[in-house]
Symmetry: C2
Subunit: 230 residues, 2 copies
């Protein structure tokens, strides 16, 4: 490959702290970033507005928002309004939480793979994290490795050309504090990100869901104030 | 497992000949079948009507139709109106066709996996076929095996319970004629199925696309008339 050729990557972008940092890392590595977000009937559609801000600030070449119908399948507190988002949980490592969305990352990565094949990208970035929060099975390194292997059998691109797709998980082994420190070093503006599972009607974070608690703990451990909190 | 317990399966259903036969095979094996179809901006939305008929005739317990936005990603003659569906191709085994939809089966299986996890099914049926038509990489046994392995790392169900998801591909090694003969033996009414990639405005098959040619060849080899042709 010529050193002048542009390497494209698809970056999954939720608008949260982890994916904003992941986008910054992909950009730092020299990739032209194609950001991909999903509107999936989640309660926190304010995420989409955050994703748009983060994509623009992170200089994404393009930002696609795909509407998907996970609510039609039900089964998660994030997509099913009849289930309650848990608050102030003492032990977040106690099994798989009700905010788990079945096969979510599998579905997200599958759209990313399709888009990557269409635009000629061989690299996909996803901001999964297995350290601070191990409750989601589709955030584990074993899952990512199996997905990557499958992706290289699934596509015409990998079949016809002698190249391979790579799924990058640059923050998978970082603590939340490490993620924040790295992001700040790369110029990420966390004021424009959104993490809460259950914001109020004005989009303000609840401060009590798992995601808010982890975020607060991360900024505390990094010794920094959270710029999204006025 | 008690012999009285109901085994649920998710069956991917396009409304074509292959998936109609696959649904019949799943039913014959004793599964309660949850049929899953996709409206994906395809030109042949007449498929969805066929899928509804086939699901009803095949006694599916439930039939979900998920709207997905593959057209937003582009890149296939089946979803992009600016590309032409090829007709009267002399050699259909000449590489990957323009009707290939990037990562389509990967995306379809990912929704099937999500629904399976939600309803407590451990079996997913997909009517892929690697014999008559090897142009699509995501119809090969290697792909299915890799997908199954990934699925068992992706989900809370497989992580918490000592069970495994199985991706069933009962017609993967059959010729089109064998598929038709088996389906007829199971009572499939092929008159209500639809195969054409490029039907006219009344939903009638063109008779010249790859899918029409394969179907015609299959019925000819099975020594039977196609009941969908008036």
């Amino acid at each position: 490959m010529s050193t002048n050729s542009i390497r494209k990557s698809v970056v999954l972008l939720s608008g949260g702290l982890d994916s904003a940092t992941t986008l910054a890392i992909a950009g730092e590595q020299g990739f032209a970033c194609y950001a991909l977000s999903f509107a999936y009937g989640q309660r926190h559609s304010v995420e989409i507005e955050a994703a748009k801000r983060v994509a623009a600030a992170g200089k994404a070449v393009e930002h696609k928002i795909i509407h998907i119908d996970l609510a039609a399948l039900g089964g998660s507190a994030l997509t099913d309004n009849s289930l309650t988002v848990p608050k102030d949980r003492a032990d977040m490592n106690d099994g798989i939480p009700i905010t788990y969305v079945p096969a979510r990352n599998t579905i997200f990565l599958s759209y990313a793979l399709a888009w990557a094949e269409i635009i000629g990208a061989w690299d996909i970035f996803i901001g999964v994290n297995a350290m601070d929060y191990s409750g989601y099975p589709d955030c584990r390194p074993d899952f990512i490795a199996a997905y990557e292997k499958m992706a290289n059998l699934a596509t015409a691109a990998a079949t016809q050309e002698n190249r391979r797709f790579h799924i990058h998980t640059p923050i998978i082994q970082m603590t939340k504090a490490q993620i924040i420190r790295q992001g700040i070093g790369l110029g990420v503006d966390y004021a424009i990100t959104h993490s809460c599972y259950d914001p109020d009607s004005a989009g303000r974070p609840c401060g009590h869901c798992d995601s808010c608690i982890l975020r607060e703990k991360g900024f505390a451990e990094a010794g920094l104030p959270d710029p999204a909190i006025a």
